[in-house]
């Protein structure tokens, strides 16, 4: 039985990854789940300099999910290279570093620093709804997305995954733009922009007013978008959005995802990823599936 999948020449032992921002650098979860069982760890976004993030409250629970407005708090690339990348070297999972920036120059600065690091791929966050400048602005206009992808690809020495925002009119156009810019893969969906109001206090629950909506409640939207993009572009698609179980993961793969990421559910059960990896194998056994690649995009 084969559970390996390949993205841009990088072979993952299974299609299960973590979604950026929900798993720290891997270290935070390492005492609660076995990172060696994962296809890849995708780290929290890292920028060229430390970012303080947004004011609190940054978290709000909503029906079947949550809103977050962290604002990409991170220590910057220097600390990341010194502390977080070495930690992951002890594990057999692939290492994918998520990159964020407020300008094209900032993205390029991080990509250049990561070029000679022992990592496997970079995921470019052009879709964070919680940062005022840059970020999402690069991910909501197809021409801008194609342009930033081209500029990153011109300097990158590792495969590039462009992480797409669902907060667009036509997700297929965005997938095509990333592909035209030379992206090796796309990942989607980032969070949906949402809002929650405390009706007793007549106040926004989040200090940032708006936040990114994630969790099982968003899954049908994500499956549809992954299907749309996977059936439009030729590059691999990494699917995510509310995945909680192996069945959810398989649904995304049948929609066309080559690999899948678990996000919010890491908070609910730190072993979600590991259970999904086991559950996919069990599903393959039960259905007599020899190769996981046979189910990618198989929905009729």
């Amino acid at each position: 039985m084969n559970t390996k999948v390949t993205i841009a020449g990088v072979e993952l032992k299974n299609p299960v990854m973590t979604a950026s921002g929900t798993f720290g650098s891997g270290q935070e979860f390492s005492e609660m789940t076995d990172l060696n069982k994962l296809g890849a760890v995708v780290t929290k976004g890292v920028s060229s300099v430390p970012w303080p993030g947004n004011p609190t409250p940054r978290i709000a629970e909503v029906y079947g999910g949550m809103l977050n407005a962290i604002g990409l708090q991170n220590p910057g690339i220097d600390v990341f290279i010194e502390r977080d990348i070495p930690f992951l070297q002890d594990y057999s999972c692939k290492k994918i570093v998520n990159v964020c920036g407020k300008t094209v120059e900032e993205y390029l600065a991080v990509v250049e620093r990561l070029n000679d690091q022992p990592i496997d791929m970079m995921e470019i966050n052009v879709s964070c709804p919680n940062v005022k400048e840059g970020a999402l602005a690069f991910g909501q206009d197809a021409r801008v997305l194609e342009d930033v992808t081209k500029k990153i690809k011109a300097v990158a020495k590792k495969p590039i995954i462009m992480k797409l925002s669902p907060n667009v009119t036509n997700i297929k156009e965005m997938g095509l733009a990333a592909e035209a810019g030379g992206a090796n893969a796309v990942s989607l969906i980032n969070t949906l922009m949402g809002m929650k109001i405390d009706i007793n206090r007549k106040k926004f629950v989040l200090a940032n007013k708006t936040g990114g909506f994630s969790g099982p409640a968003v899954k049908p939207v994500a499956v549809r978008m992954v299907y749309d993009v996977a059936h439009t572009v030729k590059i691999p698609v990494i699917g995510m959005g509310g995945i909680a179980t192996a069945e959810d993961a398989i649904e995304f793969m049948m929609a066309g995802a080559t690999a899948i990421s678990v996000g919010t559910m890491n908070f609910v059960d730190p072993e979600t990823t590991s259970k999904i990896a086991d559950g996919i194998e069990q599903f393959m056994k039960d259905k007599g599936i020899e190769d996981i690649n046979d189910i990618i995009g198989c929905v009729e």
């Binding site: 005492e31 609660m32 929290k44 609190t56 029906y63 079947g64 949550m66 708090q73 991170n74």
Partner: protein, 275 residues
């Protein structure tokens, strides 16, 4: 001392006063739990996904029992309040640093920093243990853990107190109430002043205005104060950076003067946090 999620069994649950519940659970985490640490309690309802961070009020480690006293403040805690003896409840823990680590200046990443047992570092000192509202429960385990001289100051909304009898067994207790129906009318600081309470160190948990008052009081009197903060949390293990508090100096995780309450806290030296 590893963190983990496990299924605990409800040992008992009772309402102490209107909306305040005492929940004992059977869990292997009991033997690891320290004063000031907390547990994430899951509701078991798929529409309310995130763990509710609840402070540890007491432990009986030889019986694997851990107690949480909490207020029903929404749909999630309402579900938790309906748990009965024998019910299963998923919990994640043990989370946070606790008073001992905070008071010894210990942090997760400074490997050369040895943890001095709290009672050794406080030998010959007197601790003022202060709790306000739903910040009172963790102070019970804190007070029980202290072998040095101590005095307790508890702030309630009104005379409908909870846990007061248990604090009374541990030493002198002073009360303040918002409406003056019991003890000093006003804040815990008012009760300290009215009763001439003195000490060397403060351990406190309560609402933010109270903690700000304690920070100012400690500064004015040249005392150390260790205060426990709360914030909306998601992961509880330091990954999501949802629950930060501002710090005076650069925090050691992100170096941006925003430190994680769930890992570096919830208990902080009041001089370290910018509240």
């Amino acid at each position: 001392m590893s963190k983990r999620k496990e299924e605990a069994t409800v040992y008992s649950q009772e309402m102490l006063t209107d909306g305040i519940y005492s929940l004992w659970i059977e869990t292997s985490m009991a033997s690891q739990a320290k004063a000031g640490q907390f547990i994430g309690v899951f509701t078991g309802d798929g529409t309310k996904l995130l763990a509710r961070p609840i402070s540890i009020c007491d432990v009986k480690s030889d019986e694997n029992l851990l107690r949480m006293v909490y207020r029903v403040s929404g749909g999630g805690t309402d579900l938790i309040s309906k748990l009965k003896k024998g019910d299963k409840v998923s919990v994640i823990g043990v989370l946070g640093n606790g008073y001992e680590k905070a008071a010894c200046g210990y942090n997760e990443e400074s490997s050369n920093c040895e943890l001095i047992p709290l009672n050794k570092s406080l030998e010959g000192k007197k601790v003022i243990v202060i709790g306000g509202g739903i910040g009172i429960p963790p102070m019970l385990l804190a007070a029980k853990s202290l072998q040095c001289e101590k005095v307790m100051v508890l702030g309630y909304a009104n005379k409908n107190t909870f846990l007061k009898d248990e604090f009374d067994k541990l030493g002198q207790v002073y009360i303040s109430t918002d409406d003056g129906s019991l003890g000093t009318k006003g804040t815990v600081i008012d009760a300290i002043k009215e009763n001439g309470v003195s000490g060397d160190v403060i351990f406190a948990c309560g609402p933010m205005p109270m903690l700000r008052g304690i920070k100012a009081y400690a500064k004015e009197h040249g005392m150390k104060a260790y205060i426990s903060l709360e914030e909306r949390m998601a992961c509880g293990v330091g990954a999501c950076l949802g629950c930060v508090t501002k710090t005076v100096n650069k925090d050691h995780h992100t170096h941006v003067n925003n430190t994680r309450i769930c890992v570096e806290g919830p208990v902080f030296d009041s001089e370290v946090v910018d509240i």
